[in-house]
Amino acid sequence: MVFRGFSAAAAGAISLAFAASPAFAVTEIQWWHAMTGPNNDVVVKLANDFNASQSEYKIVPSFKGSYADTLNAGIAAFRAGNAPGIMQVFEVGTATMMAAKGAVKPVFELMKEQGEKFDPQAYLPAITGYYSTSKGEMLSFPFNSSSMVMWVNLDALKAAGIAEPPKTWPEVFADAKKLHATSPTCGFSSSWVTWGFIEQFSAWHNIPIGSKANGLDGFDTVLSFNNPLETKLLENLIELQKDKSYDYSGRTNTGEGRFTSGECPLYMTSSAFYPNVKANAKFSYTAVPMPYFPDVNGAPQNSIIGGASLWVMAGQKPEEYRGIAKFFTFLSDTDRQVYLHEVSGYLPITKAAYEKTKESGFYDKNPILEVPLKELTNKTPTENSRGLRFGGMVQMRDVWSEEIEAALAGKKSAKEALDAAVSRGNQMLRQFERTAAK
């Protein structure tokens, strides 16, 4: 009985599936992504909306695990000759993808070939710059972007007698020490340690992380962030770590709960932390731009993004490419960008969408969402602040983190740790250059 019922159901399902497919062939496009929870809903909704808007193409999103898992799944699929049409890759995987000539199809090329209206000037340069060649040709399509901000527990600041959130690093250091009295286990902390203290810090102060415009101009880039300013930052952090005025919270964002629980009143992490704070913080809070050293000429410059972009894989059928190009045009639509921005907290990628959101008065009610945009558009990006493109960046972040951990644990001086981070990183860059050059 059970089996008969099952086979009847299966037969029904199969006939339904056939009935559902229309007479003409629908081109299916696989979209592999790494979005969970509410962000996954956004991905599904986008695909559904696009599929409903026309009948020739069907975007099929599938979740492939973490960012690293998704990238690895894509690499494995490519090696097996079965790559998806669209693949979401996090920002630090950009160099890996870009070096894989023959495995990816640059977005600017795709749009040109398919004759889709595509004006690179319409996009926010601080966002697309990260995913473009130095000539401004867009290689991948920005999807979810955020930047780093400093989250502030206003109640805790008040209790410690601090009038307003700190703007500069010296103020942060001084406030962290004051907060020590009321928050003994953590005055100030941060997530994504290398993204904040090396990558963002360098861009924000307009100093290079490495040569060749931080690697955007070529894989023969050499790291150089073991400079006096970076050393000064790390020395201060080491000093504060001793009594936990600053307390390290790990390499990724697993420590973010320390802000929402009220343990760490000052916390630097992604602007994408917003929905979490909104849901969990039981105190009055705000987000402010990242601190800077006021004695550095021209600081603050502009921040850089984090997040992920959509890469088009090579070897797809012509009709699949046409569908992907149409999907990207669909995504760039101003109203859709405005909607995505307001719903998900991701940054809008077009200038028009940003302007429209601004005019609608959305930021008056949600000023926190404009903080990362103000940071990103603070000044016209320079070659130090357009982004970075280092081969093997995923693992490089681990290597840099290891050295920062050694310094914060008191095993190395700031300068020693940074020197080691640079020399180990350079070794990895040479290894990458060797395989990428051919």
């Binding site: 420590g255 951990e405 290894q431």
Partner: protein, 293 residues
């Protein structure tokens, strides 16, 4: 006679072992050969460019101080995990082997942790030991221990060892319990009549008679500590801080999957394979001599 004409003795024997041979060839020798081949190559992530470099991956690897550090970490980690998981498993088995009320319930509960996936176990312990949030971490802090596994290497190592041991105790418990129950009661009773106290009985009779089980478990546990703890380390510490919990197998995973350096990663796994083969050979050659079957 007729039978011999159809099946020569050798053919039948070969056919009978063929399935097992096929499994070994496909799932062990073939991947192992692939690893050896890959370790001679320098290749990009997508396999678009490949260069044959002989032993360069090995030479580069043996030049990095981090590799030797990982060797040290692995031996420390494995030794502690094996010793603690065996000792605790044995202790619990001896306790549960007595005639007490509700012994079946105790036994079942002691076996359950083995059903928990390493990564899940890891996440549970991360919650409990998260500084500032976890209950154990807060208890430790109240006792004046500045518990901080994200920055303190010793604390991070302690954390992964606790998770790895906890995850393996049930397995050891199960085998020890079965071993204990197969020891004839009459031998122990005879010793008791002769006046041997429980401790004496355990060390002179039970423990030697348990040695085949113990030996088997040592081999299995070393393999476990070397290879199967990858998930625990990945979720609990990510090899950090500053490489304090980066074992050899975790480094293989890091360099291969995160760093996309397949050649270097393959070279490491070949070396790891050799180490484990040697370790197992040593165990069978020397330790097994002390085993009473």
């Amino acid at each position: 006679m007729e039978n011999r004409a159809i099946f020569s003795g050798k053919l039948l024997a070969f056919l009978l072992v063929a399935p097992q041979l096929a499994v070994s060839l496909i799932f062990f020798y073939w991947p192992a050969a692939q690893a050896v081949w890959q370790s001679f190559l320098v290749q990009d992530a997508f396999g678009l460019s490949t260069e044959f470099v002989w032993f360069e991956n090995y030479v580069e690897l043996l030049k990095t101080p981090e590799y030797y550090h990982a060797v040290g970490v692995t031996f420390l980690f494995s030794t502690l995990v094996v010793v603690f998981s065996l000792a605790i498993g044995l202790l619990l088995a001896v306790m549960a082997n007595r005639n007490i009320r509700g012994v079946q319930i105790y036994r079942t509960f002691l076996i359950i942790p083995y059903a928990v996936a390493p990564a899940v176990a890891s996440v549970l312990f991360i919650f409990m030991f998260q500084p500032g949030l976890g209950m154990f971490a807060r208890a430790l802090q109240r006792w004046g221990i500045d518990w901080n596994p994200v920055l303190n290497g010793t604390h991070a190592m302690t954390l992964v060892i606790i998770v790895a041991v906890w995850n393996q105790i049930s397995y050891n418990f199960l085998f020890f319990l079965a071993g204990l129950q197969s020891i004839p009661k009459s031998v122990i009773e005879a010793a008791a009549i002769d006046g041997a106290r429980p401790m004496r009985r355990f060390w002179t009779i039970v423990f030697p008679l348990l040695s085949p089980t113990t030996f088997f478990l040592i081999v299995v546990n070393i393999t476990y500590a070397f290879f199967n703890t990858l998930g625990i380390i990945d979720t609990a510490t990510g090899g950090g801080p500053n490489g304090a919990t980066q074992t050899l197998v975790y480094k293989v995973f890091q360099d291969g999957k995160v760093g996309s350096d397949l050649g270097g990663s393959a070279a490491q796994s070949v070396i790891l394979m050799v180490i484990v083969v040697i370790l197992t050979a040593v165990q069978f050659r020397y330790v097994e001599k002390k085993v009473h079957y």
